[in-house]
């Protein structure tokens, strides 16, 4: 019964987003498409951080791998958008595998620093190999290249529906993962790595697998972002894009399936509103985060789950 309740809630969120396609004003309609794509990336971050306890500061590298995997595939190999999306997704997973094999030899603060260094190296590599990546300027994906069969991703309505489809798939896979035995093992690893080892689980293997799944999500988010909005640039692989999913997840609720979406939604509009009031909008964002850490350290859905809805996955 509890499982059904959780599924109904997640389907209701998807239904609300479908309804928003018909009812939302154009400005919010465009914002929601962007938020859904960023939420896919944040869901991936949540799998590593929220479920498995891997506090990474280098996820921009995985998002960037998705962006450039799709963008360069389209530009240099002439891939259509559909295969470009797949290429970007797997680029994120493969990058996570490569980074994980090395970075997971460390833990805690050292893991944060190593992943941050990898991401910075990736960012600088994008700038350095400008003949392929177009460096600072970035890659503009032409309208003709942004079509999946008859679906034109440069069209607002099509873009929204594709974003919703990808978001729905990512959300439901995430829900299934969180409820699966494998999801419990990830949480066990987060809660007590040594105890998990004493029950027969190999922490390195579990964490590497979680990081690769996280990378696939980040790659999908990056590839979708590039193809839908037509631009692949180094700024989207900068350290800021490692921090953003962390903020989304902290705000929405680490280790909750809907937390990344809720966090991305609120943070997007907090920044949007604050920037309309002041140039120092990051101060407002920072203040909001301080309040959050002081009064709801588990994030919004984490607090709700702890106090009122223990069934929330």
């Amino acid at each position: 019964m509890k499982a059904d309740r959780a599924l109904v809630l997640h389907l209701a969120v998807l239904a609300a987003l479908l309804l928003a396609h018909f009812l939302a004003p154009a400005y919010h309609h465009a914002n929601l498409a962007r938020i859904m794509v960023l939420s896919i990336y944040a869901m991936g971050y949540n799998i590593a951080f929220g479920y498995t306890g891997l506090l990474s500061l280098g996820h921009a590298l995985l998002f960037g791998a998705g962006l450039y995997g799709a963008g360069m595939g389209v530009m240099h190999l002439g891939l259509p958008a559909g295969p470009g999306l797949v290429a970007g997704t797997f680029a994120g997973g493969l990058m996570a595998l490569a980074v994980g094999v090395l970075a997971l030899r460390t833990t805690g603060v050292a893991f944060m620093i190593v992943t941050l260094m990898f991401a910075q190296a990736g960012y600088l590599a994008i700038l350095y190999f400008g003949q392929w990546t177009r460096g600072d300027e970035g890659i503009v994906i032409t309208r003709a290249a942004r079509a999946i069969g008859p679906i034109d991703l440069s069209d607002d309505a099509s873009r929204y529906l594709v974003a919703l489809t990808l978001f729905a798939a990512a959300l439901l896979v995430n829900l299934a993962l969180a409820r699966s035995s494998w999801g419990r093992v990830m949480v066990a690893m987060r809660e007590n790595e040594e105890r998990s080892r004493m029950l027969g689980y190999n922490p390195f293997a579990v964490k590497l697998a979680a990081l690769v799944v996280s990378g696939l999500y980040a790659g999908l988010g990056g590839a979708a972002y590039g193809l839908m909005f037509g631009y692949v640039g180094a700024s989207l692989a900068s350290v800021q894009y490692s921090i953003l999913p962390l903020l989304y997840v902290l705000l929405g609720g680490a280790g909750t399936v809907l937390g990344p979406f809720l966090g991305a939604l609120l943070m997007f509009y907090i920044i949007d509103y604050a920037s309309s009031l002041t140039d120092a909008h990051q101060f407002v964002t920072g203040a909001a985060l301080v309040l959050l850490v002081l009064f709801a350290p588990r994030g919004i859905l984490g607090a709700i789950r702890a106090k009122a809805a223990t069934w929330l996955p």
Partner: protein
């Protein structure tokens, strides 16, 4: 069944176990006693691979396990319940049990067997582990270790801080497990608990076993406890 032969182990440069030898057989409960710092918990950690062994061998049914990665040791059939229980507090009772079952791909039969030993847990399956009482947490910690269907069960002071009814229940569980063939190494400080369940008692001093005696003989000779444990 489980044999430690000349084990030396410790933390970095600090040697805690010195040439320690010990064995426990099927259907046997071996209690290990000693003063604080004697190396009792470290011995259990050495068996499960959490503390590296620098000399000696540990064998289970004749096969060496001291060179295995720590996560492989439970798969050979060794269940370990550390001091402080260390449950996964954010997971429910059912999920904690499931984590234990998955390692050796055990299913409903083992789950039912384990829950029949701890009927109280059956009524708490949906409750998060961190919200259980101390005694219930200890039951869950033992239940989770039993999900591995261990040949050898290692218990590190399982009755510490529990109320008498819970202590009695844990004793009964240890006795019930003995009848199924499980070998148990029980680190314990309470003499009454030791005498209630032990077949043999090993006394540790300075990281090694200095004397092993049948529990039935110790019941008539309390001076041994005073000599090695100070009770």
């Amino acid at each position: 069944m489980l044999t430690l032969d000349g084990i030396t182990a410790g933390y970095g440069a600090v040697r805690v176990l010195n040439d320690l030898s010990l064995s426990v057989a099927e259907h046997e409960v071996l209690c290990v006693m000693g003063r604080n710092g004697a190396g009792k918990s470290t011995m259990l950690k050495a068996i499960v691979g959490a503390v590296p062994v620098s000399a000696g061998t540990i064998t289970l049914d004749g096969a060496r396990i001291d060179r295995l990665p720590a996560h492989e040791v439970p798969r050979q059939g060794i269940g370990y319940v550390p001091q402080g229980r260390r449950l996964f507090g954010d997971l429910t009772v059912a999920e904690n049990i499931e984590i234990g079952l998955m390692t050796r791909r055990r299913g409903a039969r083992v789950r039912d067997n384990v829950l029949s030993l701890f009927p109280l847990l059956r009524t708490r399956l949906g409750q998060r582990a961190r919200t259980l009482s101390g005694g219930e947490q200890q039951m869950l910690a033992i239940a989770r270790a039993l999900c591995l269907e261990p040949k050898v069960l290692l218990l590190d002071e399982p009755t510490e801080g529990l109320q008498p009814s819970m202590i009695a229940h844990i004793r009964e569980t240890v006795v019930a497990l003995r009848s199924t063939g499980v070998a148990t190494i029980l680190v314990e400080q309470r003499v009454d608990a030791v005498l209630a369940v032990a077949d043999r008692v090993a006394f540790m001093v300075g990281g090694t076993v200095v004397e092993t005696a049948a529990a039935s003989g110790l019941a008539r000779d309390a001076a041994q406890f005073a000599k090695y444990v100070g009770i």
